[in-house]
Amino acid sequence: MDSAAVDSFRLVSLSALPPLALWGLGAAVLVAAGLACLGVAREPVRLRKWALWGLRALAALCAIFFLLEPGLRKVQVARVKNRVAVLVDRSASMTFPVAAGKPSRSQAVAESLAALTPQLEAMSERFAFEVVGFDPELTPLTSKALELEPARGSKTDLLSTLRSLKASEGTSARKLSGVVLFSDGADNGELAQGLNGRAKAVLEGFGVPVSTVAVGQGGLKDLAIEAVKVDDFAFVRNSLTAEVEVRARGFSGQATQAVLRREGRVVASAPVRFASDDDVQVAKFTFAPDQTGRFVYTVSVPVFPEEAVTENNTRAFTLKVIRDRVRVLLVAGRPSWDERFLRGLLKQDANVELISFYILRNSPDDPMVSQDELSLIPFPRNEIFSDKVHTFDLLVILNFNNDDLNISLAEFEGSIKQYLLNGGALAYVGGDRSFGDARYTSFADVLPIATAGASDPSPFKARLTPEGARHPITALGTGSVSTEAAWDALPPVPGMNSVRARPGATVLLDNPFSLIDGKNAPVLSIWDYGRGRVMALASDGSWAWAFTSHVAGAQSRVYERMWGSAVRWLVRDPELTAMSVSADSPSVDPGKPVGVSAVARSSDFQPVAGAQVTIELISADDGRVVAQQTVPAGPDGAAHVEFPSPPPGPYKVVGRATAGQKLLGEMSDAVAVRASGKELSDARVNARLLEDIAKATGGAFFEGPSFSLADVPFKEPPLVEVGRSRDQSLWDRWYWLTLMVLIMGAEWALRRRFGYI
């Protein structure tokens, strides 16, 4: 029992007769008394009549008294102690100051609870006060934890919290007598729009008074990025719009700029002006991502003096930029069968957007007609290679020389080099105008092969190198045997440019009959150039694989698959990368760890068990390595690391895998650690909601944490009997019998005296 037992007395009937008999006898006594009174109803003297009625009524009462045999029952009772839940909001918004320059809201709650301690102790006879934090999970809270541990909850959901509390009644030995709720009311759950409808009905049926205490004051100055509305992904080079809601409190008439940055670089800015002291303005940013991949974008507004919260002035989000179609620029030095079959292939690929420019006429050519009778248009070299080169995913330059200064691309080597360094892709296809057959070959720096003399016109069958047997561009079969068989079945290539592989190049196909510097001449070579990729095919005869290969009716698709894979590899299709790295979640709440998964594969795309996988967490703002971990890959080449709660900001996650001294691959992803989530974006105190909750449940509302528990309504705990009862009879006393005899004797004497015999 919760309170000490006390004696309690109760008047009871000790008669052995059953209640029904008692009721019957009692009724008979009353009827008899009534009849007796009726007998003297005609008595003309009122005093006599009333005297006889009084005595007969008293006699009837005495008879009932003796019938009931009244007694006194003595019982021991005790009061059951119920519980009162003191709910304390532990969401992150409770770290905001009560008012500018004042302690935090959590601190104010701690002080209030400390001040209430004597009252709590005084009421401890009747109630067990349980202090519980919610974030919105319910967790017992000590005063020490309240003072020392900052509130971190990412969400405020008062209705869900009260539901959980109610549900816990079933598991608690004590009944709930009341709730005292300390909160700023900044609900961002079900009650974010206020208490109405179904939520109100739920609280009205709550059954326990919920008294609410508003913590914090209005009048805070704060700018906050309240929401960012933008798609999760975008198409490269296609415009998209991000709508940013900026809430301002206490900034009436203030104008400022909202700025959108991608990993430190300003992408766009938008002016915002606030009309009132509590205003939400929408800033719209329209921009076109120019690279594929995942990027962290940050929206921010300036921090003004005396702002209550500065963390909510910035919000980060990630955007996955994908291709709608691979945009390919095909430039051919002249019409040729190689150009024709490559165009046919690329045009029928729904994933490719092909833009072509062919040199249909050179300076010596005379069409013998005026320009207006020709369909020829100017070759917009400047526009393509200076202004728009970055808009292409892949440049295919086919059998092109720079001897004619009117069409030469030599002057654009710099911009193409920069395009590749920035992640572009180039496929350079030879022919009779390339390499040693051209007086001037540009792009020498960026190509994986170098000129080694005049071309070799001997037809030959291209041979798969060991690297080519594993590389996704040329590994076209389901295994090495079928890949080699597929290449063996192809017709010869009618000649090739004499070239040598440059250091660092990977040769996928070579000419088994032609030696350059003692090595087989490379036919198909690749390498990475900066962040870009380059493929060089030292012949314009690959169309034979597309056409001549069908001579026997074989359904060979080596040409289509080789070029299809080449395009995907060149533009870094994520499915064709040796190393894959991805953040477990593109955005992480403040204080939460950043998880990163990686898979290491070899150049033949087999998982490399035991590869050393190094993951770096790099600040996208300043390129600083914030953290680094190295772990061995598992049997499936997979590895996982976790960086414990890095500071808020945009990060690149760069993964590298090595086997021995060999670098297997490198890949990156992006992750945003939010400065403030939904919870911290709103610094207001929603006293109205707290008041509505109190009203709906029958509780009291307090505007501040200074109040008295005496004003808080609680359901009283019930009393229960404890121990044995003891009965003490009251009727078997001589004086009660004497009293009855005297009453009846007096009535008999008066009746005789008044002449009623």
């Binding site: 050519d365 005379d366 320009q371 020829l376 248009i377």
Partner: protein
């Protein structure tokens, strides 16, 4: 595709010199990647326009950047060599004998996998002679494909020269017919004997009179032949968006 209009100061002599010099560079890489006019050897008279094809190659060399082999290559319709020559000229001046099954099958595969046939009725027939027999044989080669007249908006009329007619030695039928596979015209057929307009005799003179338009019609027939060769090489390149506005302006 270069825009610069040709300088009028360039002499015909210099043009011919340049045209003849260009193959000398290209020859170093072999012939396979160049435009080689191939002539289909069938069971009938097939070799009437060899000089016209040579002239076409020469005109291509002279007027465009296409590298050519001047001499036409006769290739049997059932030969695997067909698959080294993506441009095939098929003609006769009379009814074609029925193709053998091997010829039919080889030609079907050739057209299906990217080969191009320019068919030319040397007899200018319509409903008889070469015309009837060629249509009959093509119906066996490509039974699923029906010939359709090419509209004036088809890319073949703008692959190099801007044309609005399809003349040859004759002007019997104002349009070309095509058998289309996917979006590609695999066979283009003229009933006007286009190569007859280009053919020359051993003395270098034109072999035939061109009627009814005379030498002007011959020039247009030459341009049409060049456009057809350009179509075989570039497909629908001139239908790309970057060309459309400029071509529309010039056609006004």
């Amino acid at each position: 595709m270069r825009s610069t209009s040709m300088s009028r100061s360039v002499t015909r002599r210099s043009l011919l010199g340049a045209a003849l010099a260009a193959p000398a560079v290209a020859r170093a890489f072999g012939d396979a990647s160049r435009f080689i006019p191939a002539v289909a050897q069938h069971g009938g008279t097939w070799d009437l326009r060899a000089s016209g094809l040579r002239r076409l190659a020469w005109e291509l060399q002279r007027r465009t950047s296409v590298e050519v082999v001047l001499e036409a290559r006769a290739t049997p319709l059932d030969s695997p060599k067909l698959f080294e020559l993506p441009f095939l000229y098929l003609s006769s001046d009379r009814e074609l004998p029925a193709f053998t099954p091997a010829q039919t099958e080889n030609l079907r595969r050739y057209l299906t996998f990217g080969g191009f046939v320019f068919a030319d009725a040397n007899d200018g027939s319509a409903g008889t002679g070469f015309d009837a027999s060629f249509r009959r044989e093509l119906a066996k080669v490509l039974p699923q494909v029906q010939p359709r007249p090419l509209p004036a908006t088809h890319v073949v009329f703008k692959t190099f020269f801007l044309l609005d007619t399809a003349p040859g030695r004759l002007l019997n039928v104002a349009q070309l017919d095509a058998w289309t596979i996917g979006k590609r015209a695999a066979v283009i057929y003229s009933q006007n004997d286009v190569m007859g307009a280009l053919a020359r005799d051993e003395s270098g003179s034109y072999e035939f009179e061109v009627t009814p338009g005379g030498e002007r019609q011959r020039e247009y027939a030459t341009r049409l032949a060049i456009n057809i060769a350009m179509y075989a090489l570039c497909l629908d390149y001139k239908d790309d968006g970057v060309h459309i506005l400029e071509i529309m302006r010039r056609r006004r």
